[in-house]
Symmetry: C2
Subunit: 387 residues, 2 copies
Amino acid sequence: MKYALAAAAAVMLIAGPISAQTAPQTVVEDFKPSSLNQPGQAYPQVNSQGYARFRIVAPEAQNVKVSLGLGGRGGTVLTKGADGVWTGTSEGPLDEGFHYYHLTVDGGTFNDPGTLNFYGSIRWESGIEIPAHDADFYALKDVPHGRVSQILFPSPSTGTQRRAFVYTPPEYDKNPSARYPVLYLQHGWGEDETAWSNQGHANLIMDNLIAAGKTRPFIIVMTYGMTNDVRPGGLGSFDIKPFQTVMIDELIPYVDSHFRTLSDQPHRAMAGLSMGGFETKLITFANLDTFAYIGLLSGGTISLDDVNKTPGFRDKVKLAFVSFGSRELEGGRAGPPGQPRQDPRANAEALKASGFNSVFYVSPNTAHEFLSWRRSLRELAPLLFKD
Amino acid sequence: MKYALAAAAAVMLIAGPISAQTAPQTVVEDFKPSSLNQPGQAYPQVNSQGYARFRIVAPEAQNVKVSLGLGGRGGTVLTKGADGVWTGTSEGPLDEGFHYYHLTVDGGTFNDPGTLNFYGSIRWESGIEIPAHDADFYALKDVPHGRVSQILFPSPSTGTQRRAFVYTPPEYDKNPSARYPVLYLQHGWGEDETAWSNQGHANLIMDNLIAAGKTRPFIIVMTYGMTNDVRPGGLGSFDIKPFQTVMIDELIPYVDSHFRTLSDQPHRAMAGLSMGGFETKLITFANLDTFAYIGLLSGGTISLDDVNKTPGFRDKVKLAFVSFGSRELEGGRAGPPGQPRQDPRANAEALKASGFNSVFYVSPNTAHEFLSWRRSLRELAPLLFKD
């Protein structure tokens, strides 16, 4: 599994918004507050081109910088006005979708007091949303809504009560005898079990897909993947076993005994983004009698060789879904450092040519970020639990 | 209702930790990270006496202050060490329990990057927990846990999909035909629907009470009370009608149709803290056929006169529960400014003497803060739904 480790490290390091390579343009003055601002907060703002404008009050500060800006240029440096307020606009448009960021104020790391916070990079970060042209699929709409429930499940292996969030579809409570398949859905490195709801809008994506009749209703379970002790570059020491024990021996039995699930292998899937995809591959390949569907979102690749050397895979697994943001596939970015590059699209196509149900999806004009993963969930959900 | 408005304003303004009036003492060097720190963060820390110690990295800053400290002394001023790191310890011990705070860095308001964030004062604030001697009743323990579910319910009156959190007791999913009473539980001014779970640990308090056989299992519903457009001092303009419409015409019918509730008046309660208590009094008094139990937590008082002038109150209402933190009752602090002072204890006793089921609770050595309200919920829950 040494190769897989290196591959996961590679995709993991492509974090941060990699902006569109556009020619200089006139900034259109139609800035509006970001949808992720705290109630009543006017800044940060976003314009129709995807530029972000920041405003920070710190009259006695010496320097204020925003970590977000054009890729490789070190963010957006704010300038102080006569009123003691620091302002600045990103050098160029940012990619559509969600971006983490933070401030550097006089050498200290702080969040923008204008925004909501999102857990990423092993800290609660500021977040900004550049409206996507296809934002409708994850919008809060007047359709029946499922619930996102916080559960606390006993974990003897870690000696704690662990937390997970469980999405149940809108009809779950109206139909007290119906049972549902389950997707176990993992966050990435630096994130936690809150990410798929807060940043990913997984619940709204499902509500909208179900309302449109595009997916079978199913349950989604999101828990902490115990990934954050692994620093980038230190992945060689990552051991999947502690999390696999929590997932297989503790969480799944708890969910199957506390929710109305279809608890057989054909009705259980696992998917994850970035390092969560890496975990998904390790856990599903080692537990073919538990999971029938596999999704890796910017989190590695499944090759013909992987499948051929895994007895039972072709019979038991019904889908291998692999996705990336388009910018992750540009310029060799998906190549693991110090390893021969694998082409995840070629792998997916070879697997499909061999007669296996392999699906490869590329999110247009996005990087290793949540819009790639929101879209990937939208693509993946309708492919699951086809029985 | 003009008097009630002023009373609510008065209790609302007693925010902030009012520390114990103790003689100077030697600070014991047994500081440990606060339980509310972000994962892996060593600061802020708390010692066994209740002192708080802060550490902020901002090497180029001119001044760093923490809003938390001894009452009336303007917080804790940090000093910069040779390493560029700002540190400081509160001037005295803080009251046990949860406190909101924030930093002032070079004149700007920021959160402490070491802590989790909690919605209060109409912003996501930093939080610190001074371990309480009785913390066991809200601790995360190895007992069966209920769920806290985020629901999104349609609200035609406000043209939105509104959010609420719903606590269901541990047995809810195991007993698919059982129905449960419901407590509607409101946050205070500056807070929102996340407060009772995040700051209040309402779910853990209930889990522990139920495990100990001390309360009947029931559902708790927590939603946003639409209070935050009201600035302190501007309460005279507060209109309960928009929230009352959401509560009575939208939320309650949604909960009764999506959860297995006992939906008659004897099985519905409303309680709230601070301005949520003010809302509770207004809504319950105007809807006696909807609620049978009333709880005001640091949120006003119910007098004999209130009851006598409200037809049907004595027949329909089964409990009037009123509580305060002890420090709120010291030195006339509970008196509304510019109004004759009402003594909430005397009111409660007069009501009880008149033959009504009136209960008055005082949380020892706490102010207008969440430990008062955690304890109040612990006291209130066993008194509800006695049929």
